[in-house]
């Protein structure tokens, strides 16, 4: 390309090509329409300019006006409907978190003004995230203070990180390399510097990187289990005789029927909410007011551990209550 700039950074995730196709189509249409309007305008200004013999407009028949206005509405409506549908369909692909068995679950914590990451094995990193190419990476995002936004332009990926909630996003990087990660939501003084790098490595290099980590931290799930025991969550969630609390085995990723007749997907956010505000969603056949809130007893990092532990039980055999 002879332009002194590229329109977009080189695509580097499995979803970016679809987004780029949408971008190309949308920008082409905007460009053509804008150009068309300008050309039409110039043409009319030159042809119908004020000059001796053309001091008064010649107007249009009412029938012409109504016909062309309706035609215009129909035409633009149809084009817009097409663009909307295309955008929504591709968006559906972006929003659907893959359920791959070998997906990597990375916990991401945003705080002013840095990004920190924790791998399933427990290894922590600051301002750098190492991931293998080709594998789906599920990000479990939490913020410790204000709203941030996880933005990797090369992956065409952006997800706001809202305090009080846990968000999930995902990507599957296609090519090894180093990609910029920026905070896209204004978050105060050093917002501009809240940047990090996503380092995509060939799978075997990633395994090597993971193995050489000198981290003595217990793996995430084990740490979550330890915390689970320390808080004595099992007193209710593992005793199946008294039916005080729903079992957690096989819970994650399932749709849970609620007492009020509704239902909710047991995702990160649901687990987190149930720890902080147990009575927000009462599971069908259970009572409210049984579980105390753990808000203030567990911090954001500990919540990530608990959620990771519950997530690890997703495939476990549940004991029928």
């Amino acid at each position: 390309m002879s332009l002194p700039f590229e329109l977009m950074p080189a695509a580097a995730s499995t979803t970016s090509d679809a987004v780029d196709l949408v971008a190309l189509l949308v920008f082409a249409i905007i460009g053509l329409v804008s150009l068309g309007v300008i050309v039409a305008m110039v043409w009319i200004v030159v042809r119908d300019r004020r000059r001796p013999g053309n001091l008064t407009g010649r107007g249009h028949h009412t029938a012409t006006i109504w016909r062309t206005e309706f035609l215009f509405c129909g035409l633009t409506g149809a084009v817009f409907l097409g663009l909307f549908t295309l955008g929504a369909v591709v968006f559906d692909g972006l929003a659907r978190v893959p359920a791959d068995a070998d997906a990597l679950d990375v916990s991401v914590t945003a705080k002013r003004w840095m990004w920190s990451f924790q791998h399933p094995g427990g290894r922590r990193e600051l301002s750098q995230l190492h991931v293998p190419a080709g594998r789906a990476v599920r990000l479990h995002l939490a913020s410790e203070d204000v709203i941030h936004s996880f933005y990797v332009p090369a992956f065409r990926l952006k997800q706001d990180v809202v305090p009080g909630w846990q968000r999930t996003a995902w990507f599957r990087a296609t090519a090894p390399g180093t990609y910029a990660l920026a905070c896209a939501e204004y978050c105060g003084t050093e917002h501009a510097l809240m940047r990090a790098e996503v380092v995509v490595m060939p799978p075997h290099v990633y395994d090597h990187w993971l193995a050489q980590g000198d981290d003595e931290r217990p793996p995430l799930v084990a740490a979550g289990r330890a915390l689970f025991e320390r808080l004595d969550c099992g007193a209710c969630h593992e005793s199946h005789q008294r039916r005080r609390a729903p079992p957690l085995e096989g819970l994650y990723g399932r749709t849970v029927a609620l007492r009020d007749g509704g239902s909710v997907l047991a995702d990160d956010d649901y687990i987190r909410r149930s720890i902080l505000r147990p009575d927000a969603d009462i599971v069908a056949d259970y009572q409210s007011g049984v579980m105390p809130t753990y808000a203030g007893l567990v911090d954001d990092d500990e919540l990530l551990l608990l959620v990771a532990y519950v997530r690890s039980l997703a495939a476990a055999e549940g004991v029928s209550p």
């Binding site: 977009m8 950074p9 009319i44 000059r51 709203i147 933005y151 952006k158 204004y186 501009a192 510097l193």
Partner: protein, 527 residues
């Protein structure tokens, strides 16, 4: 002096607003100048990051709440609405004066916040940053904006009642000038949406003082609730800004094309359609904030829907010019600039309404470029076009047509150079509101800063030659453009109660350009 400060004449109040808003615009423009100079280099060197954050926040707050929203309604609308209706004044002249005082009070509060140390939340006041983390003067600024909102509600009520009750005999709804239709639609939004903003901002102030747990997750609130409340007002507010501009363009184009508006009913109805649909699209600011997939799809769909009536306007303006007798005067150059830039701005808005694409573009420079194209390229061009179109009526003098045209072209060039590079900065992935940026973006940032200097020249020029026209300008006569509105049937400037003899008003086809008198002036090199 006293006669001005106690006047209930809508024309004088309009001029009070013009003076006040010009001051705010100048202040907002100076803030933008510092921002653009800072951004000429990647590092944060001219001002510290904290200062930069305060500068862009105040630029946004002042431009949005103290210029863009009130500008056309309270100046041109205030001045022209009674004239266009053949009425002696607005329905509530004292409410009108009160609205100016409340507006000034709001402005003074905001300026106090600025002098006391500033505001660093962004004009969007997102929580929990604004309620818990910011150590700037949020409460003071919020109260200032609250008062500006109250002033808007006064104006909106006044306009609605005036349009319903004070039309001259024979001036039926379908004979209303299109500018009046646009003011009507705008007033509906002002009255219905502004209270939501007012309550939201008060809640922010209360939450900041008392931690009541509305927006702060630490006390059980929801930051997303704030975003819903805020955009429920602030997206319709975009139409508050642009609809009156569209109204101005709908007056200028028929006059300088010597044609009836193409599809009058469509243009009038599209103003109302935009006002109604505009209330239903706020969620498109939250596609990546974590609202449900279903909500995002619905908001995306409705955002495309609102683009249809906007498209109708562009199509109708082109239709009005077609088979016309086009006279490229200063106001007409602004109108043509408006059409082109509004098309680009609206089109890029559709890019943002496209779900998959918005994920990439949201909160980047692309958004900044998009809304500046609508606001500066669209609304401000319309404002200047309207100012030039009605200046002879308001001042009774003709300005230098040559300098008018030169300034209009300089503004267009400056605009394009300033904001086109920002679209590409956005597609390349540079987030907005950043005091510093990686060096690879410097080329485009530099272009944008260079464009801003041209833009600044374009703003200073009209101030000079318009003021000069007050002293040296030739008398304009009642109807220099040969225009058809009722405002042109009285003297320039109009007498205190607008029409010397209400009985002689000729009310009929509002755009009878085929039978209208020819212009009484001929600009440089024109027929």
């Amino acid at each position: 002096m006293k006669s001005w400060l106690t006047t209930t004449d809508h024309k004088r109040i309009a001029l009070l607003y013009l003076g006040t808003m010009t001051l705010f615009f100048t202040l907002g423009g100076l803030l933008a100048t510092v921002l653009r100079v800072e951004l000429a280099t990647p590092a944060s060197d001219l001002v510290a990051a904290d200062t930069y954050n305060r500068l862009f926040t105040l630029h946004g707050v002042i431009m949005v709440f103290f210029f863009l929203i009130p500008s056309i309604p309270t100046f041109l609308g205030n001045y022209l609405l009674p004239l266009m209706l053949g009425a002696p004044d607005l329905a509530f002249p004292r409410l009108n004066l009160a609205s100016w005082y409340v507006f000034v009070a709001g402005g003074l509060l905001t300026l106090t916040a600025m002098i006391a140390g500033g505001l660093d939340t962004g004009w969007t006041f997102y929580t929990p940053y604004s309620t818990v983390f910011s150590d700037s003067h949020v409460v003071l600024a919020v109260l200032g904006v609250f008062l500006a909102g109250l002033s808007s509600v006064f104006t909106g009520i006044n306009f609605i009642v005036t349009i319903h009750r004070l039309r001259a005999p024979g001036l039926t709804w379908l004979r209303l000038p299109l500018f009046v239709w646009s003011l009507y639609a705008t007033s509906l939004i002002l009255v219905l949406a502004t209270p939501v903003l007012a309550m939201t901002l008060l809640l922010v102030a209360i939450e900041r003082g008392l931690q009541i747990g509305i927006f702060d997750p630490a006390t059980g609130g929801s930051p997303l609730l704030f975003q819903h409340f805020f955009w429920f007002y602030s997206h319709p507010a975009v139409y508050i800004m642009i609809l009156p501009g569209m109204g101005v363009i709908s007056e200028v184009i028929p006059c300088f094309s010597r044609n009836r508006p193409f599809g009058y009913a469509f243009v009038a109805a599209s103003s109302l359609a935009i006002a109604v649909f505009g209330f239903l699209v706020w969620g498109h600011h939250m596609f990546v904030a974590g609202q449900s997939y279903f909500a995002s799809v619905v908001f995306s769909f409705l955002s495309f829907a609102v683009a249809v009536p906007s498209g109708v306007k562009v199509f109708s303006w082109l239709g009005t010019m077609h088979r016309g007798a086009i006279w490229l005067t200063t106001p007409m150059i602004y109108a043509l600039g408006f059409i082109a830039l509004f098309t680009v701005g609206g089109g890029t808005g559709l890019a943002l309404a496209t779900l998959a694409l918005d994920v990439h573009l949201h909160d980047t420079y692309f958004v900044v470029a998009h809304f500046h194209t609508i606001m500066v390229g669209g609304m401000l061009m319309a404002y200047l076009g309207g100012l030039h179109f009605w200046w002879p009526k308001i001042s009774g003098r003709l300005y230098s047509e040559r300098w008018g045209r030169i300034a209009a072209y300089i503004l267009l060039v400056g605009f394009l150079l300033t904001f086109l590079p920002q679209f590409i900065l956005g597609t390349q992935g540079l987030p907005r509101r950043t005091a510093s940026y990686p060096p690879e973006y410097q080329f485009l940032q530099g272009l944008s800063s260079a464009g801003a200097t041209i833009l600044a020249v374009g703003y200073v020029l009209p101030a000079i030659y318009l003021l000069a026209s007050l002293v040296r300008g030739r008398p304009a006569g009642d109807n220099p453009w040969g225009a058809t509105g009722l405002e042109w049937q009285t003297t320039s400037p109009p007498p205190p109660h607008n029409f010397l003899d209400q009985g002689t008003l000729v009310v009929g086809d509002p755009y009878d350009y085929p039978n209208a008198p020819q212009p009484t002036i001929a600009g440089a090199g024109d027929v």
